[in-house]
C-alpha cells in the first residue's frame, strides 16, 4: 500500500506543478513553456522577439512580460500568423508584452471568467487588438492599441468589464462595448480614431442586450481619421469624426468626459438601423435611458461627414436621432446640439441611475453592513477612504490576514509591484462595501499588493504584508 501511495505521489509530482514559475529567454519558445504549464503557472518572458501564436487553455495562467525600460518581449506575427494569443483558461492574466503584425487579432479570451490584460502594447494586429468575448469579470488597463482595422479594445457578449487608463489612437474604433452588461469605460485617452468609444447592441448574437455601461472621465479627442475598415461591416461603415456613440444599448451613463474636436459629432445617441435590427426579431434596437451629464464638449462637429450632415442637418457637440425612452442630456450653455431636441436630465430624470457593475451594489443606500468574518485573523486591513489601513502589516508564516472593504467603492486586493498587477498569490474578487477577503500566507517573504480599479491612486498600491518564518 505504501509503495502504491509513493508511486501515485511521484506521478502527481511528475505532472506540471501548480503555481510554478517558468522563465523564457530570448530565442526560446513561449509555446513550449505553455505546453508544460499547469494551473497557476506564471510564465515570465524576457525581452526579445517571439514569432509565435499562443494558445492558453490551462486555467489560471499568467503570461508576464519582463519590462526593462524600453525593452519588453514582443509577440510578432510578421503578417503571417493569425492571432497573438487565444485563451480559454480561467482566470487569464497577461502583462508587459508588445503584440504586433497578426492577421486576425492580438489577444482574445473566449469564455474566460477573470480576464486581466494590463500594460500591453498592441499595434497592427488585424481586425481587433484585444477581444474578450463570452467572458466575465474583465479588466483591460494601461494598454496601448494602434492601427487596428475594427475595434482596438473590444468587449463582446460579456458580463462585467473595466476598461480603464488605456491609450488608443489611429484605429477605426477606439473602444467598443458590444452586447455587454455592466461595463465601465473610464480614464482612457482616445484620439485620432475614426470613432472614439462605441456602446453597441448588434444583431446575430446570443446575448441580446447591452445595459448599464458607464463611460466617464475619458479624453475623446480629434477622432477624425477616415475609415480604413471593411466597408461592408458595421464598424467599417461608420462615418469618421465621432467621439462617443451609443447605439441600441440601454441604461448607459456618459459622464464627465472631455470630448473635443471630433469633426462630426462629439456624443451621439441613436438606434440601430432598421435593416440590421429586422434580422434579429428578439433584439431591442432602440437606445433607452441614456444619461449624458457633465461632459466637457468643445469644438465638435466643425467639418461633419456627409452622412452626419444629412442625418442631423449639421455637425455638433451632441446629436440625438429622437428615438427611445428616458434619454436625457445636460449640455452646457455653449454646447451645440443637433438632431432632435433632447430633454435635460433634471426635467426628465432617467428611470434609475445606471451605475457600473462594481458600483451599483456598493452604492445602494443605508443597507446595514454584514459583520465581516474576522475569525482566526492575525491581522486585519481595512480599506477605507481610498487607503489600506494599516498600509503595512507583519504576520508569521501560516497566519491569516483579512481585508475588509469599508468604502462606498469597489476595491480588490491583488498582488503586484508598483502599478503592475500579478494576481499571485493575492487575487481577491471585486469587494463591495462590507465584503472581506482572507489569505493565509504559507511562506516567509514580503508580499506587495494593490487595488486593480484604483491602481492609478498612489494610496491604493504599494501596500504590503511581511511574513516572518
Amino acid at each position: 500500500m505504501n509503495r502504491m501511495l509513493l508511486l501515485a505521489l511521484t506521478a502527481a509530482l511528475a505532472t506540471p506543478a501548480a503555481g510554478q514559475h517558468v522563465r523564457v529567454r530570448s530565442g526560446e519558445s513561449i509555446a513550449a513553456a505553455l505546453e508544460q504549464a499547469g494551473p497557476g503557472a506564471v510564465i515570465e518572458v524576457e525581452p526579445g522577439l517571439y514569432h509565435e501564436a499562443l494558445v492558453v487553455d490551462t486555467p489560471n495562467v499568467t503570461l508576464r512580460g519582463i519590462v526593462r525600460g524600453p525593452e519588453r518581449p514582443v509577440l510578432d506575427g510578421r503578417g503571417t500568423l493569425n492571432d497573438g494569443v487565444i485563451a480559454s483558461g480561467s482566470p487569464f492574466t497577461m502583462t508587459g508584452f508588445a503584440v504586433r503584425h497578426y492577421k486576425g487579432n492580438g489577444v482574445s479570451t473566449q469564455g474566460v471568467d477573470g480576464v486581466f490584460l494590463t500594460d500591453l502594447v498592441i499595434d497592427d494586429t488585424g481586425l481587433y487588438g484585444v477581444y474578450p468575448v463570452q467572458s466575465r469579470n474583465i479588466t483591460v488597463t494601461h494598454c496601448t492599441a494602434t492601427r487596428i482595422r475594427d475595434a482596438a479594445i473590444y468587449v463582446g457578449e460579456s458580463e462585467g468589464a473595466l476598461v480603464a487608463m488605456n491609450w488608443v489612437h489611429h484605429n477605426v474604433a477606439g473602444i467598443e462595448i458590444e452586447n455587454t452588461n455592466d461595463a465601465e469605460v473610464r480614464d482612457n485617452l482616445v484620439h485620432d480614431n475614426t470613432a472614439g468609444i462605441l456602446v453597441f447592441v448588434l444583431p446575430g448574437k446570443v446575448l441580446k442586450e447591452g445595459r448599464r455601461t458607464r463611460v466617464h472621465r475619458n479624453w475623446v479627442v480629434r477622432n477624425n481619421t477616415p475609415n480604413f475598415g471593411d466597408p461592408e461591416s458595421i464598424v467599417g461603415s461608420l462615418p469618421h469624426g465621432i467621439g462617443i456613440l451609443l447605439m441600441g444599448a440601454d441604461d448607459s451613463v456618459v459622464e464627465n468626459n472631455q470630448v473635443r474636436e471630433n469633426a462630426s459629432l462629439g456624443i451621439a445617441v441613436t438606434r440601430l438601423a432598421e435593416q440590421h435590427a429586422k434580422k434579429d426579431p428578439s433584439l431591442e434596437p432602440i437606445t433607452d435611458a441614456a444619461r449624458i451629464v457633465a461632459n466637457h464638449l468643445d469644438a465638435n462637429g466643425t467639418a461633419p461627414h456627409p452622412t452626419i450632415e444629412k442625418g442631423y442637418g449639421a455637425g455638433g457637440d451632441f446629436g440625438w436621432d429622437g428615438t427611445g425612452r428616458g434619454n436625457c442630456a445636460d449640455l452646457a450653455d455653449g454646447a451645440r446640439p443637433v438632431g432632435a431636441p433632447i430633454p435635460g436630465c433634471l426635467e426628465a430624470p432617467a428611470p434609475a441611475p445606471a451605475l457600473s457593475h462594481i458600483e451599483h451594489e456598493a452604492l445602494s443606500p443605508a443597507q446595514p453592513l454584514p459583520a465581516p468574518d474576522l475569525a482566526g485573523a492575525a491581522a486585519v486591513v481595512h480599506i477605507r477612504g481610498m487607503r489600506f489601513e494599516p498600509r503595512h502589516v507583519s504576520v508569521k508564516a501560516g497566519e491569516t490576514v483579512v481585508w475588509v472593504n469599508d468604502d462606498n467603492l469597489v476595491h480588490t486586493v491583488t498582488s503586484g509591484a508598483g502599478t503592475l498587477p500579478s494576481h499571485t498569490p493575492l487575487a481577491s474578487p471585486f469587494l463591495t462595501r462590507g465584503q472581506s477577503f482572507r489569505h493565509t500566507f504559507g511562506e516567509a517573504g514580503r508580499y506587495e499588493y494593490l487595488c486593480l480599479p484604483h491602481l492609478d491612486q498612489a494610496t491604493m498600491r504599494g501596500a504590503s504584508v511581511t511574513v516572518a518564518e
Binding site: M1, M4, L5, L7, A8, A11, A12, A14, T15, P16, G38, P39, A53, V55, V56, D57, T58, P59, N82, D83, I86, A87, S88, G89, S90, K103, G104, N105, S108, Q110, G111, V112, G126, L127, Y128, Y131, V133, Q134, L202, G204, K205, V206, D230, E232, S233, I234, Q275, K278, K279, P281
Partner: protein, 342 residues
C-alpha cells in the same frame, strides 16, 4: 482492495491526464422532458418503423439513417415515392440541446418537430386517426405505450407518440470525441495538425467559433452566410423580407460524417465549405452583402491551414452512443436498407 484500485486509477490518471482545460465547458441542461428508458425504447421502435407512414414505405430512419450519422448522404431529402425535397437532412446528434429545430427554426421542441415530417403530404403523410388505429392493432405498441406512460388512462395518443420519439432522440448524445478528451486535458488526444486546426477554428481571422460555439458547436441563431438559393429560410416562417436567406446554425459535431453541407446540400465536402468561407461566403457568388452576417468575411489562410482546419473538424466525430438498430419492428414492415443511397 478498493483503496488500492483507487490509487491505481489516480496513478494512471495523473500520468495520462493533465487536468481539465478551459475548453471543458459544461453542456447546458437538456431541453424538454428527460427521457425515461421505457419512452426511449418505445421511441426507438417507432423511429425505425415504417408503420408511421401512410403507405408503410417510410420511417424516420429512412432520412435520419444511423449509418450516416442520422443524415442521409444525399444533397436533399427524398420524400414519399422517392421525390426530392427542398432541404438537406440535418443530423439528429445532440438535438437534445437545440433551442429550436428545422433549418428555418420553425419548431420549438422535438415533440413539435416530429409532427412536421409525420404529417407532411410529401413525407410520411400520416393520417393521425388511421396511424393510431394501426398502432393500437399491434400488441407490442399497446404494451410499449402503456409501459412508457404508465399513469395515463389512454396512453396511445399522437402527443405521446411524439414524446416517445423525442425521448429516443434525446439519447443521441455525442460528447466524447477526441476533441472532448483534449478539452478534458488528455494529452495527445489530438494530433499536432488537429490542434493547429482548433486554433484556426478559434481565430479572429476565420471566426468559426463565434457561431459554432463550444461545447455544442452551434448557436441558437438564424444567420445569413449567403448560400445562393431561392429558399426564403427564416423569412418563410416570419414573413419578414429582411430575414430572407437566414438559416439555423447547425452543430459541427459529427460533421465529417454528414456530407453534403448547407441547407440545400450544395457543398459536397468539408473542403468546399472551408473554401466557401475563405471567399467570404456568398459574396463571391453574387449574393448581396446585406444578406450575409457581418462575421462572415473573406479571410486568407494557406492550403495547409485549410487542411488543418478540416483535420480538426474530423476530431469532432463521436458515435459512441449509437443506438442499436432493431432487427425487426413491431409492424413487421421492412426496415430501411442501407445500400439504397443515393
Amino acid at each position: 482492495v478498493l483503496r488500492r484500485r483507487l490509487l491505481c486509477v489516480a496513478l494512471a490518471g495523473s500520468l495520462l491526464l493533465g487536468g481539465a482545460t478551459g475548453l471543458d465547458r459544461p453542456f447546458p441542461p437538456l431541453r424538454g422532458e428527460a427521457p425515461t428508458p421505457a419512452r426511449a425504447a418505445l421511441g426507438r421502435l417507432l423511429f425505425f418503423d415504417p408503420v408511421l407512414s401512410e403507405d408503410g414505405s417510410l420511417s424516420c430512419a429512412h432520412c435520419h439513417r444511423p449509418d450516416r450519422a442520422f443524415s442521409d448522404g444525399r444533397q436533399t431529402a427524398r420524400g414519399r415515392g422517392g421525390r426530392p425535397l427542398a432541404r438537406n437532412v440535418p443530423t439528429l446528434w445532440n438535438v437534445a440541446w437545440k433551442e429550436r429545430l428545422m433549418w428555418d427554426r420553425r419548431a420549438g421542441s422535438l415533440e413539435e418537430q416530429a409532427l412536421i415530417p409525420l404529417l407532411a403530404p410529401d413525407e410520411l403523410a400520416a393520417d393521425p386517426e388511421r396511424l393510431l388505429a394501426r398502432l393500437a392493432a399491434l400488441p407490442e405498441y399497446r404494451a410499449g405505450f402503456a409501459r412508457a406512460f404508465p399513469d395515463e388512462r389512454a396512453p396511445l395518443s399522437l402527443a405521446n407518440l411524439t414524446r416517445a420519439l423525442a425521448a429516443f432522440e434525446r439519447t443521441l448524445v455525442s460528447r466524447d470525441s477526441r476533441y472532448d478528451r483534449h478539452a478534458r486535458g488528455e494529452k495527445a488526444a489530438l494530433t499536432p495538425a488537429e490542434r493547429r486546426g482548433l486554433a484556426l477554428f478559434r481565430s479572429l481571422n476565420t471566426r468559426c467559433f463565434e457561431c459554432h460555439r463550444l461545447p455544442t458547436f452551434d448557436a441558437p441563431l438564424a444567420l445569413g452566410i449567403g448560400v445562393p438559393s431561392p429558399d426564403p429560410g427564416l423569412a418563410g416562417v416570419t414573413g419578414e423580407p429582411a430575414q430572407r436567406g437566414l438559416f439555423a446554425v447547425p452543430t459541427l459535431r459529427n460533421v465529417a460524417l454528414t456530407a453534403p453541407y448547407m441547407h440545400d446540400g450544395s457543398l459536397p465536402t468539408l473542403a468546399a465549405v472551408v473554401d466557401f468561407y475563405r471567399q467570404g461566403g456568398g459574396r463571391a457568388r453574387g449574393v448581396a452583402a446585406d444578406r450575409i452576417d457581418g462575421q462572415v468575411r473573406a479571410f486568407s489562410i494557406s492550403d495547409a491551414e485549410a487542411a488543418d482546419l478540416i483535420a480538426f473538424l474530423r476530431a469532432l466525430d463521436d458515435e459512441s452512443a449509437s443506438p442499436r438498430v432493431p432487427g425487426r419492428v413491431p409492424s413487421g414492415l421492412p426496415l430501411f436498407r442501407t445500400e439504397t443511397t443515393p
